[in-house]
Symmetry: C2
Subunit: 213 residues, 2 copies
């Protein structure tokens, strides 16, 4: 695509605080955003996440209280909660290796070296010591990809760290599934009159943000 089209979309986006309840996200756009999320790269390819898509109004409304009262959780079209595994085991690694072997038509035994490297890092090694922290980093890649993809499709969203993971986990029944909420992102189309839509975007200059070596 043309560089101008990309940048125009990135400039168009903002953290929408109010969504138009009369204008839900079209199925085709949402399906594509789910596929974009699915295609998100992750460390070792492990995909230690689950994408929870909440469209049930009662559930969205219930989650407002676990979001410091932020109403965009209730008036959005699709509420995305990205959850990550609270534990990553050898079985998870083996499942991923089996999936890789099947997809690529190779014998899973050929992947032993890679398999043991991954186990030695995220199960028994340094990253295993804070596996939720590692998972959250991956979730934020998905968030970044999601926000950019949404902007390109003309869909608004509002990335949020201001929520109670415990509250979300309870309402969504995640703890029993070995998951915890990493980050939340209501999506929809901006409401006319959302006063935040017209505010100038605040970013430091390239000179301030970049260093060249």
């Amino acid at each position: 695509m043309e560089t101008d089209d990309l940048l125009q979309s990135l400039r168009w986006r903002y953290a929408a605080k109010a969504f138009d309840p009369e204008r839900p996200i079209a199925d085709e756009a949402w399906d594509a955003l789910e596929e974009a999320l699915r295609l998100t790269p992750s460390s070792y390819g492990m995909q230690p996440w689950k994408f929870i898509v909440i469209t049930d109004q009662a559930t969205k409304d219930e989650l407002i209280q676990h979001s410091y009262g932020q109403k965009q959780v209730g008036n959005c079209s699709h509420l995305l909660a990205i959850a990550v595994q609270t534990d990553v085991t050898e079985a998870d690694v083996d499942r991923f290796m089996a999936s890789t072997a099947e997809t690529r038509g190779v014998d899973v035994g050929t992947m032993d070296f890679f398999r043991n490297m991954v186990v030695g890092d995220i199960v028994n090694g340094p990253r295993g010591e804070d596996i939720v922290g590692w998972g959250k980093l991956q979730a934020y890649i998905a968030l970044g990809n999601f926000m950019t993809s949404a902007a390109l499709l003309g869909v608004d969203c509002c990335p949020m760290e201001g929520f109670s993971p415990k509250g979300y986990d309870e309402v969504l029944g995640l703890a029993d599934k070995g998951l915890t909420t990493a980050v939340v992102c209501p999506a929809g189309h901006r409401a006319e009159g959302d006063k935040y839509a017209d505010l100038a975007k605040v970013r430091y200059s390239k000179e301030e943000l970049f260093e060249r070596v």
Copy 2:
């Protein structure tokens, strides 16, 4: 843009392990990718990062040893290292508030409520307890945005957690600037014959990854 065009780009991308040294990224594309990085959303809009762009061959070569010997660090066109602040102070928050006030033409005093909320969270509050961890999450948003933006412009890259932050910080002189390397992403154009380019992408199915409420 059309959903198919977005998904085609996301399917086209992969973690390139070899870049074509004869085909550096064109200036126009790289400038746009820097602008995309600059526009990345972050928590509270704080942008607790610095983007280090390394094109100096000797420096790239020196960093290979701090990247577990991974050669794409040396043969890429542009090596992106996303660094984050090792500390975030009230002065940082005030600088951001001043920038916001100036950009939006409002009196900085009108932002006191927001200012104190941010200080109460990332300086003196819960997120301040692990400010590098918080910064790294933001860096991964930038990484996700960067990878998607690059794919859309036909630029390859290779996201990497396999490196020594200490080694990078030393070579790049970051510690003295209150920064540490969060994540690294060599970029360029894939070399013909990179055997990873033709491997089928491995992702779990939507059924496995999504839950609908």
